[in-house]
């Protein structure tokens, strides 16, 4: 920049590149911008959310199986008695009297045998109470008063069949789904761009052979291919990338090849050839930068495709395995419980659908921005 300042008297003029133009157009597209912000939000929430949710996505709360979502804390007042009598029953003692005292419950129990102090652990083991102490004990040891703090727990999205918090599981699933979407999308994109650009750029016989290979791969049935992989290598996270990436790069390769073929015939490429620029220079400076527009557009449409494929595989039980989870897994579980625990389906489905919507809006917006045909 100093050089510019030295040679030019007026302030340095910086042109607006095509990317700059596209960005300006995209900014005017409200649906796309809103989707972009929404995606950013989902990504941030999925990545950082699980650390802030008080429940681990693997923790099982035996007392809270299939509790419906609620904004107020568990245990609910009517649940305290149930939880209390369950715990007391395990101590093999009888309740004489109990009352709630602020955030603590005070319970007096009697027994025919002396009461062991260690019995408090039965109360602590319950998901509803913690910090149990013996307040006082009758001299003969047959009666004791214990007090226990009520453990306030929030299950904003409810819990699942085994009593795990759905919120943390949905966010965790978001991490996995987005990661698979992004990574497999990038893998498919990179393979597709390199392969397609090479085929289109080389042209002639090389192109012919490379594209026939693509045709052969196209004819492999996808599910069959995945089942085969699973049978040979067992269920594995990495396999998911392989399987999804191996299928989706084919489309990308075809699109890129077509683009590369047409760019190859552009006059600016001929001009570069006339200047003696080598194959490498042409590929790097001319073909690839001009390819990027359609590639970016297709990538935004590829990512949702990958997420759907992963969900589909997980739904079939071929994908991500418990306790790890993904939106597809959660939806599959939710679908089985739709009759009596519909929140198990609603929350993950909302996340998946809204994310896919947003991705598609962004893709559409990018297409309009990068390739304005509304003239």
């Amino acid at each position: 920049m100093t050089e510019i300042a030295a040679t030019a008297a007026p302030p340095a003029v910086v042109g607006r590149s095509l990317w700059g133009n596209a960005w300006a157009r995209l900014k005017r597209n409200r649906a796309a911008m809103f989707s972009l912000y929404y995606l950013a939000l989902i990504a941030v929430v999925s990545v950082f959310g699980p650390w802030f949710v008080p429940h681990e996505y693997t923790t099982i709360y035996g007392d809270y199986v299939r509790t419906p979502p609620s904004l107020s804390a568990y245990p609910k007042p009517d649940m305290i008695q149930g939880a209390l009598s369950d715990a007391i029953k395990r101590m093999r003692v009888d309740i004489k009297e109990w009352h709630q005292d602020g955030s603590r419950v005070v319970v007096t129990v009697t027994s025919t045998k002396p009461i062991d102090d260690r019995n408090v652990r039965y109360l602590d083991r319950s998901d509803a109470f913690h910090d149990t102490r013996i307040e006082n004990k009758s001299p003969d040891g047959l009666e004791a008063t214990m007090s226990s703090a009520i453990k306030q727990q929030y299950f904003l999205f409810g819990t699942d069949n085994t009593g795990r918090d759905l919120l943390s599981r949905t966010l965790m699933a978001g991490r996995i789904s987005l990661a698979i979407g992004l990574l497999a999308g990038v893998v498919a994109g990179v393979i597709g761009v390199v392969y397609g650009a090479a085929a289109g750029f080389a042209g002639g016989r090389v192109d012919e052979v490379m594209m026939r290979i693509v045709d052969v791969l196209y004819s492999l049935p996808f599910i069959f291919f995945v089942i085969m992989l699973v049978v040979f290598f067992g269920r594995n996270f990495v396999l998911m990338f392989l399987a999804v990436g191996a299928v989706l790069w084919l489309d990308m390769a075809r699109i890129v090849r077509g683009q590369a073929l047409s760019i190859r015939r552009q006059e600016y490429v001929q001009a570069a050839e006339a200047m003696g620029v080598g194959q490498r220079g042409i590929l790097l400076r001319h073909v690839i930068p001009n390819l990027l527009g359609p590639v970016v557009i297709y990538m935004t449409l590829l990512v949702p495709q990958v997420i759907i494929l992963e969900s589909f595989l997980s739904f079939l039980g071929l994908g991500v395995q418990e306790p790890m989870t993904s939106w597809g897994v959660l939806i599959s579980v939710g679908a089985k419980n739709i009759g009596y625990a519909n929140w198990l389906l609603l929350f993950p489905a909302f996340f998946l659908v809204s994310t896919l919507f947003a991705l598609n809006f962004v893709g559409d917006g990018l297409r309009d921005a990068l390739d304005p045909k509304d003239r």
């Binding site: 003029v13 133009n21 003696g276 620029v277």
Partner: protein
Amino acid sequence: MASETILSVKDLRVRFQTLDGTVEAVKGINIKVNAGETVAVVGESGSGKSQTMMAAMNLLSSNGEATGQVDYRGQNLLSMSKSELNKVRGRKISMIFQEPMTSLDPLYTIGNQLMEPIRRHRGLSAPAAREEALKLLRLVHIPDPERRMKSYPHEMSGGQRQRVMIAMALANDPDILIADEPTTALDVTIQAQILMLLAELQRKLGMAIVFITHDLGIVRRFADRVYVMRQGEVVEEGEAEALFANPQHAYTRMLLAAEPTGTKAAPPANSPVLLEGRNVEVVFKIGGGFLGGEPLMLRAVDRISVRLKRNQTIGIVGESGSGKSTLGRALLRLLPSDGVIRFGDRDISNADRQAMRPLRHELQLVFQDPFGSLSPRMTIGQVITEGLLVHEPSLTSKQRDQRAVEALREVGLDPNARNRYPHEFSGGQRQRIAIARAMILKPKVVVLDEPTSALDRSVQKQIVELLRKLQADHELSYLFISHDLAVVRAMADYIIVMKQGKIVEEGPTQEIFDNPREAYTQTLMNAAIDSTRFRVSA
């Protein structure tokens, strides 16, 4: 011819919403068209001449907006509903466009496309519409119309397609025919035929023609009245003859004087031959291959010999498909060819990419289309210094930048331009950039492939002058490929006329222009230079 005003445009304004805010393309103009007359709207690109007519026909793009009044026989077209408008549009007022290639639907036969509007607007039965379509094709002199009814657009030449477009426009017996640069995409000889046809049709059918063009030569020979537009305003209007005889506005005078002038003197006889081709032959193989059967061999350049001396300009003239561009590229070894090509004292007939690379900076090429020949994603600085990366890799980026500044100054552009992108420049500026890209390498031979064809006349003149100046400064040799004889006359000292890959005639410029020997050369000259009117004056 009595003059009832059938179309009048009053205070028409056209605005476009763009990224940079509102752009006013047409700024309150008034135009009227009388029955049966020919009105020309003349202007350079960006003058708003096409947008005026598009607005009148309600064909503006979605970000455009028109205000004012466009009255056709007392009805305001701008305030009509779509269905009312369709009764006028395509029926009473019809249009033909510049590009006959894209105006016809490639998936339907000519017959289909002709019959559809006839049936739609007049409610004729299929056989009757067919009769009508055949009549129209005969009217526009399409040979063998019965067979042509079944042809698809790609089976016809550009001129024939434009004839079909005219036939379609005439299908419903319009009052007004709006012709938007109808001959610009055609070769000169075809151009003349189309203009002749339009004049003839007007005599027969008596419709008014609104002729939108940048070409004053056509206007002079064709129009009754002329409107000259510039930057969205009408700067001058009047009867064609009066306007040409005595132009009032400075801009009109500038347009009239924009024809490139001057001649180029031949280099001294003893100046060394720089680039020589002997019996150069280029054959394209079409089809064939794995399952394609026998390939078709197309002889694009058929044993042509050229000797280009230092400081000489050879003009290669011919219509599209004559092989002139192919010859230029073959001489630069950008296409495989047979025959002998020598550069200086070196035989480069069989030089491959690798062997050619060190020579490339002395042999440069400038393309016709200044929009296609600059990579849209690179800054101007990157575009013009790309060659330095190859030929002078030792330069630092600072030195390259310095060279870019020099090159841009040399072609008359602000050096600040190098941080901008191609799409921010006009056609003429882009062509200057393309020339700067060639000049930065300090070449000896430059092949100029129609460098002025895509530009406005006034810009053409500037580019021609720039090229002349560069030639004088650096003793360059040009191979100037063009179909535009006026430009060639100003640039070249030697002319080669090509047709179908062969040389028809060659010789010093003056001789060829004063005394063309071959019939083909004469036709070309007549089509381009002749100024007889097509029209029996009204």
